[in-house]
């Protein structure tokens, strides 16, 4: 599904990703953990196509395509979804209209017929239940005035409506209360299947109690320096990152 090799990326003159390798198969859940500033969001952004990054070396292959060649919207059409660490507020752009346009853009790309208002509403209703999304949030401007937790929940709601093939969740658990964490996790779990891959960026083992990862990676200083199974996350929780950094050095 996704194959990242020797990825180097810079912002301005600052190199942030320094030879990152990661391979994700269809149906797998990968957790990426790592110290603040190590490059986790940068990786997520580069995968989603945000501009401002210079990829100086390496390749990213997604479903046989060169992902880095595609515009952000083309990646979204092809099934890539990024749940942002800091979702932006967009005054004047309605949440539901955005979702409808997004769903239909993806359907069009897949050669499916576009959903009409009634069909779309049906879809929305069903997905709202899964993430327990409050109805009044739907008709507001995108994220405008949403609380931190509401923004995160909205990201997962969008994800469940769009049904991506590769979902990258950048610290979706940060800022969620315990109930919301459970709900969001259920939302993610409900999307799990053999065709869909999920990359979870998180600082906390707690999320991984709810969403069991197949693989856990440590990203430090722009590289994956250690990979393992779910146990690695427990070990990190207990011992922090220093021992791995030393090991890797």
């Amino acid at each position: 599904m996704l194959n990242i090799q020797d990825l180097h990326a810079k912002i301005g003159n600052k190199e942030i990703l320094k030879g990152l390798n990661l391979s994700v198969n269809a149906g797998e859940v990968h957790a990426i953990m790592g110290p603040n500033g190590s490059g986790k969001s940068t990786l997520a952004n580069v995968l989603a196509g945000r501009n401002g990054y210079d990829v100086t070396k390496g390749t990213v292959e997604y479903e046989g395509k060169d992902l880095l060649e595609l515009a952000p919207e083309e990646r979204a059409w092809a099934g890539v979804f990024l749940a942002f660490q800091y979702p932006v507020e967009i005054p004047g752009v309605n949440n539901v209209y955005l979702l409808k346009a997004a769903v239909n853009a993806v359907r069009k790309y897949r050669g499916q017929t576009e959903l009409d208002a009634v069909e779309f509403l049906g879809l929305i209703k069903e997905k709202m239940k899964i993430v327990k999304m409050k109805e009044d949030l739907l008709n507001r401007s995108v994220n405008e005035g949403f609380s931190g937790g509401e923004k995160k929940r909205n990201e997962i709601f969008q994800m469940s409506v769009l049904e991506p093939k590769l979902a990258i969740l950048d610290e979706t658990d940060s800022g969620l209360d315990i109930d919301a964490l459970k709900i969001v996790s259920e939302g993610v779990n409900s999307l799990r299947n053999e065709e869909r891959s999920i990359i979870l960026v998180t600082h906390y083992q707690r999320l991984l109690d709810y969403i069991k990862p197949d693989h856990v990676h440590v990203l430090s200083n722009g590289k994956i320096i250690k990979s393992g199974g779910p146990d690695l996350a427990l070990e990190l929780e207990e011992k922090g990152y220093d021992w791995i950094k030393e090991e890797a050095a």
């Binding site: 945000r50 515009a71 952000p72 919207e73 979204a76 990024l82 005054p91 209209y97 955005l98």
Partner: protein
């Protein structure tokens, strides 16, 4: 006297100037002869060069009568909105298309020419009293030709529910037409009304509209005023709105400027008694080589007066816009509040904006704020939308629309708001897509 105004003098000589207002017209013309057109050495005209108007021999003489069909007018009507309508074609009142029968008690709406004979007392009291011929040569020029235009009088304590829709239409104008519409709106004590002035070019001709509107609000009167400027993209439009406000009166101005090659909109509000409030909202959207200048001025003459101004501009192509908002707080006008904001979105590298707030404060206990911003589309928002499968072009249009709509969504009168939203969408590169986005 310069020769470049000879055409206007010839027009004046042809004018049937034999009523009680004849002397006023003559002295306005004399004043215009003395000053001529303003030049850019004048601070007030620094950024707007009116030489294109001066160079052309515009004339208010129309050869053949131009006919506009009802179907044509229907396309620019507010659908489903029951209005009182006053229609002018190439500056001349069209009785045929206007609907001025069966007006409510306490309401007068008539062509200025009729008002000059029917309502001499009211006109003698108000006409030319709020728009100063000495301030702008264009106003003097307009006064010299006062004939066609709309006179509205709303009696004390009368509430007019139906909006009064004034349409100034230009069509087949031969590339040399000048019109000088003159409007006067007199609002009695405690009266309420909504007036829409639209200036619309039905083709892409080059013509010159020189409009002046005067508004007098007695105590506690409320007037909502909309100006929709959709002149031909080759037309020149100079519009001057002057408002005199009594105690506790409220004036709401919504000025939407979309058309015209060279446009200047002036608004002057005088808060002449305590409790008077003025709201000025404006939106200008420009492209190609359009030049649109909005000048506003508010005089806080008395204590406890309030002004709120919000102008937004969306500039594309090689267009240029000017915003100048002047607020003058006069001596002893204590405890006033004046808020002003001008935000601009530059969609192209070649577009240009000059924005300038001007505050002159001669009182000490006042609350004034002002701000101006000039920016591009927000990259984070753009990326967010694109990451949600919206293609770049649509995302740009959508964010542009959202920016402009901040102003229009505040209009609480749905038929006008919807119409304006459609007009704004129509100005955007991906009109059809945005319409899809918002039409459900």
């Amino acid at each position: 006297m310069s020769t470049d105004i000879q055409n206007y003098i010839s027009d004046f000589d042809r004018l049937k100037n034999d009523d009680w207002f004849a002397n006023s017209r003559q002295s306005a013309l004399n004043l215009f002869k003395d000053t001529g057109f303003p030049n850019s050495r004048l601070e007030n005209w620094k950024y707007t060069d009116v030489r294109p108007i001066k160079k052309k021999s515009f004339s208010n003489v129309t050869e053949a009568a131009v006919s506009v069909s009802t179907e044509e007018i229907n396309t620019i009507r507010f659908d489903g909105l029951d209005c009182i309508e006053v229609v002018f074609i190439n500056g001349v009142f069209s009785k045929e298309h206007s609907s001025l029968d069966d007006l409510d008690n306490g309401l007068v709406v008539e062509n200025m020419l009729d008002a000059l004979s029917n309502d001499q007392d009211l006109l003698a009291k108000h006409l030319t009293k709020y728009a100063d011929d000495k301030v702008s040569p264009f106003t003097a020029l307009n006064t010299a030709f006062i004939q066609n235009g709309t006179f509205i009088n709303v009696s004390a304590n009368t509430v007019i529910e139906k909006p009064i829709n004034i349409l100034y239409l230009a069509k087949d104008s031969n590339g040399s037409l000048a019109t000088h519409p003159r409007n006067l709106i007199v609002m009695g004590e405690g009266s309420e009304a909504t007036v829409i002035e639209s200036y619309i070019g039905l083709d892409d001709a080059n013509y010159f509209t020189n409009a002046v509107t005067e508004v007098a609000l007695s105590s506690s009167a409320i007037l909502k005023h909309y100006k929709i400027q959709q002149e031909s993209l080759n037309a020149y439009h100079i519009g001057n709105l002057n408002v005199m406000q009594g105690k506790d009166s409220k004036f709401e101005s919504h000025s939407i400027s979309l058309g015209g090659a060279l446009v200047r909109n002036d608004i002057h509000g005088q808060l002449a008694a305590e409790g008077a409030e003025i709201i000025m909202n404006g939106l200008y959207m420009t492209g190609d080589k359009q030049h649109v200048d909005n000048h506003t001025r508010v005089d806080h003459l008395k204590p406890h007066t309030l002004s709120t101004e919000n102008y937004r501009g969306v500039l594309n192509g090689k267009s240029r816009a000017v915003f100048n908002g002047k607020v003058i707080v006069h001596k002893d006008a204590q405890k006033i509040e004046a808020h002003q904001n001008n935000a601009n979105l530059l969609l192209s590298d070649d577009a240009e904006i000059d924005t300038k707030p001007e505050l002159e404060i001669y009182a000490d206990d006042v609350k004034c704020t002002h701000g101006a911003t000039v920016g591009q589309l927000d990259q984070n928002m753009l990326f967010y939308l694109r990451s949600r499968a919206i293609d770049e072009e649509t995302a740009r249009s959508l964010l542009t629309y959202a920016f402009a709509d901040e102003l229009i969504s505040n209009i609480n009168f749905a038929p006008i708001r919807n119409r304006l939203e459609r007009l704004v969408i129509g100005q955007l590169p991906d009109a059809a897509l945005i319409r899809e986005f918002t039409n459900e």
